[in-house]
Symmetry: C2
Subunit: 369 residues, 2 copies
């Protein structure tokens, strides 16, 4: 019998609950399992809830729902607070800590493991990947990304077709996507484009330098050619004076957003076009009608794999999705070292995909159904 | 054999093409049918396209797609231009004019009919209803509304649950919906609310006076009570000094939008909460993954009914959806006078639904699947 704590951290995804339930449904019934509320904050403030009876039933009932049912959130998880979290884990005799999260979470888990070890405490630590931005290293992709990419791809297709219907009234739409410093989501916007008339006519990603003059020229040429144009830009693109457009800063964390509004104004001022900014917003990570079935199933599978790794006694590992180079889509789940994930840092788009978007869309296709 | 012209006008909906195809698939093959491009503009500039062969096949293939496949758009359809449109219809020997549109379209059709009559020309005129705002009179509801309401209801539920996961970081989300001067869409945001914790905790509609002090108090109380709060506001609410927040004015038409941004700032300034504005944007009227099946089928049926009214020789009518007062959902399609639709003007929410939202949600339920 082991005492196990599991939590969710960072921005929710449409399938983060599937990973949670995938873990819970596949561990041995003899373990004593606690959920931690509100991510790292819950670790620091000992917000543990025993998962049994009706509580466990409720969590399991959330399997195919969006948002993080345990509460995730953001929290400045300083070294000092990590120390506190570890002392609570030790005090409560926790044997295994499992967290579902992104880059920050994997780095924090590794730190927790080190500190516990330094205190001579044997703590098993396992990470389950999730991010809509797909900026997590050491895995082909992360659960949550497929559903977000699906929302972005369908939205862009639909908003572009809608604009074509309206071109005598409105000429330019600038769609803003999530993605932080990586262009995975923004580039996904072109996945369902079937002809030249249909947008996006240009996609701006953080990996490439943004030049406002080139942007304006692209807009003008596209309006001339197609009567209207849909352009996509990632929230993380640095548009002006080398800085990103941000909405707010909370607890030292920059919340990106607003670049589409800024570009819409420039387009209006320069050309007098009727331009509209479309920030796809939170629906990218939570809209339940756009969940990718493949993503949901994989999210469950990585949770299940974490349960298996736990049983096998593995520690300091994150579940990783390894894609096989076969004709169809085929993946293996393996454990990779947390340290390697941390060292890989933010994973941006590889050159291969930026240079040949068709290669990217072929790679992406199975993830968005 | 009749010469028939059909067009689409105004903002597209997710099912406006279903109405078009419903008409085309149910008229006698001996008629000569033309599509008019880009709405009224096409009538003025004689942008007729004969629907036959591959062109007809292509239009029929658009049956279950969103956006307006003929082009709709907005166009200042002045009396002078209506005169020109009528003279073109006469010159081309058109017997029947059918348009799919909202309030403006039905008024324009009535005007066209009058002018033709005054010129001694027998023109059959039939209107097919569509609007996401549901502000069209003389019909229980209009096709297009159900899909938009479904998008709003699911988005609000999902964005609210997502916020609950994040409440240690973000406390307030203000969701902005379409709807122009009527609150149908905004009020639909609460249709899937199942418990007190879940938003929306308040819905602001244009039918009711907005008082900023009351709004701030509501936000503060909800954050205290639930830890976070999701609030919904219609784009048409007058928030400040008795005026609506608008994005731009094009060809004399006000494009509403921006009220959520404004309120987000007020909330931040007053309470220091991390607040976010979420404008649901164009996806409300075009997101293909949120189409209501019932809405799509009804859109087709009203198109089919227009074909029947044409055959019966009816004129100056709009297809109207009449709901029967039975236990289940049951509707009849009838023809109602264009003049009555015009005289009814913009249809706002009835008091019954504003006073008892459960009655509204019961009415709405079959339309959003």
């Amino acid at each position: 019998m082991r005492k196990v704590v599991i939590g969710q951290a960072g921005g929710p995804t449409a399938v983060i609950n599937s990973s949670l339930v995938g873990f819970l449904e596949n561990i041995s019934a003899e373990n004593e399992v606690y959920a931690v509320q509100d991510g790292y904050e819950g670790l620091v403030h000992e917000k543990y809830i025993k998962l049994e009876g009706k509580t466990l039933d409720w969590v399991k009932s959330r399997k195919n729902t969006t948002a993080a049912c345990l509460g995730s959130g953001r929290y400045p998880f300083t070294e000092e607070k990590i120390e506190i979290a570890v002392s609570h884990l030790i005090k409560n005799g926790i044997n295994t800590l499992v967290f579902i999260g992104g880059n920050g979470t994997m780095a924090a888990l590794e730190k927790i493991s080190q500190i516990a070890k330094a205190k001579g405490y044997l703590l098993q630590v396992i990470g389950i990947p999730k991010t809509v931005d797909n900026d997590l290293g050491q895995t082909d992709h992360a659960p949550g990304f497929g559903s977000a990419a699906k929302f972005v791809a369908y939205s862009t297709m639909d908003i572009s077709l809608d604009l074509q219907s309206m071109k005598n009234f409105e000429q330019v739409r600038i769609i803003e996507t999530m993605g932080r410093n990586a262009g995975w989501l923004a580039l996904a916007s072109g996945a369902l484009r079937t002809n030249e008339l249909q947008g996006p006519h240009a996609i701006y990603i953080p990996e490439k330098k943004f030049v406002v003059e080139n942007f304006l020229q692209t807009v003008q040429e596209a309006v001339k050619e197609y009567g209207s144009t849909t352009i996509v830009i990632s929230e993380g693109v640095e548009v002006d004076k080398g800085s990103q457009t941000y909405q707010t800063i909370v607890d030292g964390r920059t919340v990106l957003g607003g670049v589409s509004q800024y570009l819409q104004q420039i387009v209006k001022e320069h050309f007098g076009y009727n331009a509209r900014a479309e920030n796809l917003g939170m629906n990218q990570r939570c809209f339940s009608l756009a969940v990718s079935k493949k993503d949901q199933l994989e999210a469950y599978a990585v949770g299940k794999k974490a349960a298996e790794l736990m049983k096998m006694g593995e520690t300091n590992v994150m579940v990783s999705i390894e894609r096989e180079d076969t004709k169809g889509y085929n993946c293996n789940l393996i454990g990779c070292k947390l340290k390697d994930v941390k060292d890989a840092g933010e994973r941006i788009l590889p050159s291969l995909f930026m240079e040949d978007t068709n290669k990217y869309y072929k790679w992406l296709s199975p993830l968005i159904d």
